[in-house]
Amino acid sequence: MHIQINLNYNNGKMIIKRKVFEKYEDYTFSIPYSSQDRVLVNKGSLVKIGDDILKRKDNIVKYSFYLPEQIGTPVEKSQEYVACIDGELVTQGTVIAERVIAGGLNVKKLLSPSDGVIDLSRIEKGYLDILGEEVTTNIKSSFNGKITDVNPVDGIVVNSSAHAFDIKLISEVYNLKSDEDFNKKVFGEFVFLGDGMDLLLKAEDSDYHNKIVFVGKYLHTALLHDLFNKGASFVLTYSMDYRDFRTQGLPVGVLGGFGEIYTSGKIIQALRNMIGSFAIVDYEESQIFFLNEGKNLQKKNEGLFVHTLVNSTIRSLSLANYGMLGTVCGVEEGDKPFLKVKWENNLEGIINIANVEFLSL
């Protein structure tokens, strides 16, 4: 028999659910383009998945160097040690960065391994890139939407529906100072590394330019640097150590929490559905927006509040099994009601109602 437990059993408290994916019907964003690119859509046109929207001219990245690793400079001071200028054509053996050490007795030099063009667009993150030949790529739409404007300042402004996922913390928020910084958005294709549950120290040998990479359950700093060496625009992880997060200086978003916490298979699976979507990391909102109407999550309108405790999905906030998802299968009343929960790992237990977060998956 299905038992309905009404709100009065919530210890006289109303509980709001956190929607893991929030759907926004009218999400407006813009795709920046440069003067070399060719825009293939017009203001007012409707775009569908697979339509060409932009012909982008880019130079492939031949080499990336992380200067803090190469010559031991702090990330924020990397610019000071660069021995060439942005866009300069360098030949093999040219000194591209150098740093005097040991009180002037020694000099660490970084030499260019081949001919190429210097790109300092990521120098603030500590990266110096050497570009190779120019390639032209057709950027195809991975969403359905309406082009509301096209101009060189805002880029291609698109209105579309989107699903948002909360990012608990974004590392770079520390360094943002102006309003413009806070409005920062990172664009790219959402990709997964491995199956999302493995602990990886090195990324696959792929090009991660213009990609937002989800690394899975835990991010090690070795993997983070490897991904940025391979051009990643932004790295997302379910968890990582807070100190690493604070000190690494690269754009990282944490979705689940800090430390070695339990990683929910259900949430990883929900994120997996977003692979290949065009995604936007919005610093101000601390959310990642997925434009993937084709992969609609089939959400039913459940409302914001918890109406029945039994069968609700919860996430544990207790240190004992922090982050684990479970389904409520009973309630023990009292001053502080306890929930009987069937956890994701198939074990059953009880937990204080004030020590959980109610979710809508």
């Binding site: 709100l7 009065n8 408290k13 109303m14 926004y24 909360d166 020590n355």
Partner: protein, 452 residues
């Protein structure tokens, strides 16, 4: 609104939005039948913290909120017509309708403007207030007068903001009374700054757990981001929050020493109203320990724990008495039970009785209690329906400056109900450190839960 007769039946809703939470109280009175009660609800908005500024948090939210509130309180509050337009039901009888709704929003609440606007869009029948310094000044000055205290400190300990408001009576030569108001605040503007605040070396000095630095920062950051409503079983988190509360209070004292000094030592009638997220987590004993050490308190202080924000919600209505224009409430549903905090200025010896006393009433036989040094001791007074007389005296050189050696007070169930006494019998000065292990031993030594 017309002035209500004190005998009229009445139902009134007061809502406070503060620290990402909504406190709602529905007060009902029928003074003819001596019937008066308050129904309360708390809704945590932390799940919506990314949505408070966008289109998800709009008037639709309030439609859904009041719809659910009806079920929680089993009270007909709203009418919805065929166009889905809400109107508040006029008060008819107990359980049906209300005479008014007041919503007060803390000016520290994130996305204050957006929340304010969403309420305005929802209904014009609501009375809107802003909880700011002027509001707090007027509230605590009137509460001090009504409750009969010469010195009143309102301590609000939320995760991001610690605010202290103090009102002190200054007696003039011509027998007139001047009120001196002061405020002291400390706030963090983001999750990151609260998380990083524990990197302060002084924070380490107050810690008393065995966690590694990595565990501390990971547990603390998860705690700040999730903001659970109960951590009573998480000993290490409780210790982090206690240390955080102590250092926050200590920082406020350091920056505002002139405003806070001598609190508890000027007048015998001194009180502290304690509210916020942190006291709800820590409980009375640990909160008072954090306040005593953080604010370097001493003296005799009546402590009111306003855990459900009833004093903040209905404090003004209570102080207006029969002149109130919304609802006439008596003390018993608004004013929480009192904890008497006794902190001598000097205690030198250890393992000796520093305070001894007894409690008795017509229904309860004389029950004695005593406090040994170096304990920070909480004595729960027996539940009582008749007046309970409590007498005690300082021993072995312990005493409060400029005060009598004897402490005596009466707990009156209908008006001033004392449920506990906390006596700080630790030798002065109180020293924390040099490391977490030493603190752990000291806290174990200090802890002593007596029951009278």
């Amino acid at each position: 609104m017309s002035k209500l007769s004190i005998f009229e039946k009445n139902a009134y809703i007061s809502i406070v939005i503060k620290d990402n939470g909504i406190w709602t109280h529905l007060a009902y009175t029928d003074h003819n039948a001596s019937r008066e009660y308050i129904l309360s609800d708390y809704t945590d908005l932390n799940s919506l913290r990314y949505r408070l500024d966008d289109m998800i948090f709009t008037k639709e939210f309030w439609f859904e909120y009041f719809n659910n509130l009806e079920k929680i309180f089993s009270w007909n509050i709203v009418d919805k017509n065929s166009f889905a337009i809400f109107t508040f039901r006029k008060f008819k009888e107990e359980g049906d309708g209300i005479n008014g709704i007041r919503i007060a929003i803390d000016d520290n609440q994130h996305f204050f403007d957006k929340i304010f606007q969403s309420i305005r869009d929802f209904s014009n029948d609501l009375s809107l207030r802003v909880i700011n310094d002027a509001y707090m000044q007027s509230l605590i000055e009137s509460l001090a007068d009504r409750l009969g205290y010469d010195d009143l400190l309102y301590v609000d300990m939320d995760l991001y903001d610690f605010s202290l408001y103090r009102t002190t009576n200054i007696y003039q030569k011509n027998n007139s009374v001047k009120k001196l108001f002061s405020k002291s605040k400390l706030g963090w503007n983001s999750d990151l700054s609260v998380i990083d605040s524990i990197n302060d070396k002084r924070f380490e000095a107050f810690l008393a757990n065995d966690l590694s630095d990595r565990e501390i920062t990971n547990y603390w950051s998860n705690f700040i981001l999730d903001r659970p409503l109960d951590i009573s079983k998480e000993v290490s988190l409780l210790d982090l929050v206690r240390a955080y509360a102590t250092i926050q209070n200590f920082s406020i004292l350091r920056d505002n020493r002139q405003k806070l000094e001598q609190f508890g030592n000027i007048y015998q009638k001194t009180a502290m109203i304690i509210s916020g997220y942190i006291p709800n987590l820590l409980g009375k004993y640990t909160t008072l320990l954090a306040l005593t050490d953080g604010l370097e308190l001493s003296g005799e202080i009546d402590c009111f724990f306003d855990n459900e924000l009833r004093m903040l919600s209905f404090g003004k209505s209570y102080t207006y008495g029969i002149n109130s224009t919304d609802i006439i409430l008596t003390k018993k549903d608004i004013i929480p039970h009192i904890t008497k905090l006794l902190i001598p200025n000097s205690v030198k010896e250890t393992n000796k009785i520093m305070f001894a006393g007894y409690a008795e009433s017509v229904e309860i036989p004389r029950t004695e209690f005593f406090v040994l040094s170096p304990k920070f001791s909480m004595i729960s007074l027996p539940p009582h329906r008749e007046k309970l007389i409590v007498n005690g005296s300082w021993r072995n050189g312990a005493r409060i400056n400029n005060a009598k050696n004897e402490i005596s007070f009466i707990s009156t169930p209908e008006s001033s109900y004392y449920d506990s006494i906390v006596v700080d019998a630790r030798p002065r000065p109180i020293i924390y450190g040099p490391d977490a292990y030493s603190n752990k031993l000291k806290l174990q030594q200090w802890k002593d839960d007596n029951k009278a």
